[in-house]
């Protein structure tokens, strides 16, 4: 069973907990303004400049250091594009700016998963039903058994290898996860439904592949193989980094899961409580927080998904104080420690659990 380091709260305590967090949210929201708008536009400019510099350097791949620097810069650009820019914009963190080019419902990113699919599987399913078994499909991505409450099967034995494969191909994992390919493999989804859901991913993937593996290599002429490899390397850097950050968000040692029954008539306080207990933070400096798209403040992100992520650092001490006041555990640790606890979780739960009640993964 999931164990908890938090005290159970009565409905009244949950209401007080929710009100305290609502107050914090409203306080910060009232101060959003020019600095936040300038910031996100600077982030977008950084993505564009680093992408141009990275692709430009890759064209000079006959100088080996240029290939290394170009690949690194392009990988950096894709990481910032996906995390601090795309993920946060698509959450509606900057909708208040009323800038159509930074609007959550129309934003598109440098990623195989189309924005529309992401808005559904991530913003709706994952953020509303965070760590609710059978609802939040991000728990193990339909591939890994991470909690004793999930049903064990012999397929889980080599799951550390699945995790490694997922990390390397994480953007494909995210896109296909959105199309619920795992449910199709289990026969729980019809072929027609699969075609319907895969078609937009195929279109987006074709565009991404054409860009990174056809157009830019061809533009480089004799440098084509080097550019292709550099683009492959940049996508790999982005995949590994985002996988590591995201798996540390909800699957660390103290992260909790919840049965599907909790979301019926759920109070706002209870929703907040579930976000807090299901999420875990990573400690680090400003550059580290930026490179994770501030998902290092996963707790604050889950409590306040539509507040600009650059504000999470200033909100974190207040959240910690509110959690402490209500005897709730605030799950935080170094990147290395949290990542190690995730690896341990993947290994431990590849074997059947004893002494716990098994709950079907999808009721």
């Amino acid at each position: 069973m999931t164990t908890t380091r938090s005290k159970p709260m009565t409905p009244d305590e949950l209401d007080a907990f929710g009100t305290a967090l609502d107050t914090l949210r409203d306080e910060v929201r009232a101060t959003l303004g020019e600095a936040d708008a300038t910031y996100i536009r600077d982030v977008r400019s950084t993505v564009r400049y680093t992408e141009a510099a990275g692709r430009g350097l890759l064209f000079l791949s006959f100088i080996p250091p240029a290939w290394v620097a170009g690949t690194a810069l392009l990988g950096l650009s894709k990481i910032i594009d996906n995390m601090e820019l795309g993920h946060n914009v698509m959450h509606g963190q900057y909708d208040w700016m009323q800038d159509p080019t930074l609007h959550s419902q129309t934003y598109e990113w440098d990623h195989i998963c189309p924005g529309d699919g992401w808005r559904h599987s991530h913003n709706l399913m994952h953020h509303t039903f965070t760590n609710v078994l059978g609802k939040d499909r991000d728990v193990g991505y339909g591939l890994l058994r991470l909690f004793p409450e999930q049903r064990w099967s012999v397929r889980n034995v080599p799951q550390i290898l699945y995790a490694a494969a997922l990390a390397v191909n994480f953007q494909w994992g995210v896109a296909l996860h959105d199309a619920e390919i795992d449910r199709a493999l289990d026969g729980r989804k019809s072929a027609a439904e699969v075609v319907r859901d895969v078609a937009p991913i195929a279109r987006k993937a074709a565009r991404q592949i054409a860009k990174d593996y056809v157009v830019f290599p061809l533009l480089a002429g004799p440098m084509a193989p080097a550019v292709l490899l550099g683009n492959l390397g940049a996508n790999l850097i982005r995949n590994l980094w985002t996988f590591a950050v995201i798996f540390c968000g909800h699957f660390t040692a103290d992260a909790e899961v919840f049965p599907a029954s909790v979301v019926e008539d759920e109070s706002r306080g209870h929703w907040y409580m579930r976000q807090l207990r299901g999420s875990s933070n990573l400690e680090g400096g400003p550059l580290f927080h930026f490179m994770t798209g501030n998902l290092s403040h996963q707790i604050e992100h889950h409590l306040f998904p539509d507040i600009p992520a650059r504000r999470y650092a200033e909100m974190a001490p207040r959240v910690r104080e509110i959690a402490a006041r209500h005897d709730q555990h605030y799950n935080t640790g170094s990147f290395a420690a949290q990542l190690w606890s995730v690896v341990k979780r993947i290994v431990v739960h590849s074997l059947p659990s004893f002494g716990g009640s098994a709950v079907p993964a999808e009721a």
Partner: protein, 347 residues
């Protein structure tokens, strides 16, 4: 203008790079450089603009939507163009509204060299093509701006036209284009200008006043633009005279957005073309669904933003905070607000 580059580079990115070369560049939007800012009166300024090649021209009397970022938010306001149709530049004559965020920013912040985003010109508040139609133009305050465009256009073309301008300003020092209005009749034969100052004890608009100053007003095609008090009075007078068909009215200034209602309200949906009546008690999402619409939505709890929709006009109240949202073209979450006035939604 299809461009093969946009298959791989979205138009925002294309604009980002091309604006490094030409700051006025835009793929399809009108951007305009501020050439001069003129002080008309203590609270009115004229911004002279040079638009990029996307500008398609305008007819005197039409307006544009100016979009400006204030405290990080893009806000839009509508202003009549006040320059002549044939001028090489555009003129926006802008009065500072009390507590006006956009007009305040336009006054305090805009300098020559700045770039403004404007829409194409819109509106049917324009003169008839038939030059024989005698005209009466009734203006109050900055409501004179569309008429300045008309008179400047006619004067520049050396036209001869039977036009009467009835113009009200609070006091002489607050009269827009004060000097030009005295010389325009020399350049536009057939123009008569009557100006009155309400704060200097002169008469406000009245039916009797019109009868004495413009006895043939029934024969004229009349245009009115100005504060609601003036346009309402003119509309009532023309209705009483059975002349509503002969009156053109321009809605002017900030819409009356404080008028919130506690009763049922009408919601006009611009994409589906449907208008429904909702009680304004529960969330808009719930009430629109009850009215038979099917807006896109997700969590129904204000989290996922799947139901975000642009509020073209009207006022809504956030259910959780009680705060009012009434900014033109503001995105709202249908599941998290209730209607507080008649609404127009991009739905």
């Amino acid at each position: 203008m299809p461009n093969p580059l946009t298959r791989f580079l979205d138009s925002d990115t294309l604009e980002f790079w091309l604006q490094h070369v030409d700051p006025l560049f835009a793929y399809d939007r009108v951007r305009a450089r501020v050439e001069v800012v003129q002080h008309e009166t203590p609270r009115v300024r004229t911004v002279v603009l040079r638009p990029n090649a996307r500008w398609r021209g305008f007819r005197a009397g039409q307006h544009v939507v100016v979009t400006l970022e204030v405290d990080g938010r893009r806000l839009s306001r509508t202003f009549s163009l006040s320059g002549g149709e044939d001028d090489r530049t555009l003129r926006l004559t802008i009065g500072r509204q009390p507590n006006g965020r956009v007009t305040g920013a336009l006054h305090d912040r805009i300098r020559p060299g700045d770039i403004l985003e404007i829409s194409q010109a819109h509106g049917d508040f324009v003169l008839p093509d038939d030059e024989r139609v005698p005209l009466l133009l009734v203006a109050g305050g900055t409501g004179i701006t569309p008429f300045l465009a008309m008179l400047r256009t006619l004067a520049a073309r050396g036209a001869r036209r039977d036009v009467v301008l009835l113009n009200w300003a609070p006091r002489a020092a607050e009269l827009i284009a004060r000097h030009e209005l005295t010389t325009l009749p020399n350049r536009l034969l057939g123009l008569r200008v009557h100006t009155a100052y309400t704060r200097e004890g002169m008469d406000r608009f009245s039916a009797a006043g019109v009868e004495s100053v413009v006895p043939d007003f029934r024969q004229r095609l009349t245009y009115v633009c100005g504060p609601d008090a003036l346009t309402d009075a003119v509309a009532a007078c023309w209705r009483d005279a059975g002349l509503t068909e002969r009156l053109r009215r321009e809605w002017f200034g900030a819409p009356r957005r404080d008028a919130t209602s506690d009763g049922p309200v009408a919601v006009a949906c611009t994409r589906s073309g449907r208008t429904v009546t909702v009680p304004g008690v529960q969330s808009l999402l719930v009430e629109l669904e009850a009215a038979g619409l099917t807006p896109a939505h997700g969590c129904r709890a204000g989290i996922c933003r799947q139901c975000t929709c642009v509020l073209a006009s009207g006022a809504v109240e956030e259910l959780r905070t009680g705060g009012t949202r009434n900014e033109t073209d503001e995105p709202i979450q249908l599941c998290a607000v209730r209607a507080r006035s008649d609404l127009v939604l991009a739905l």
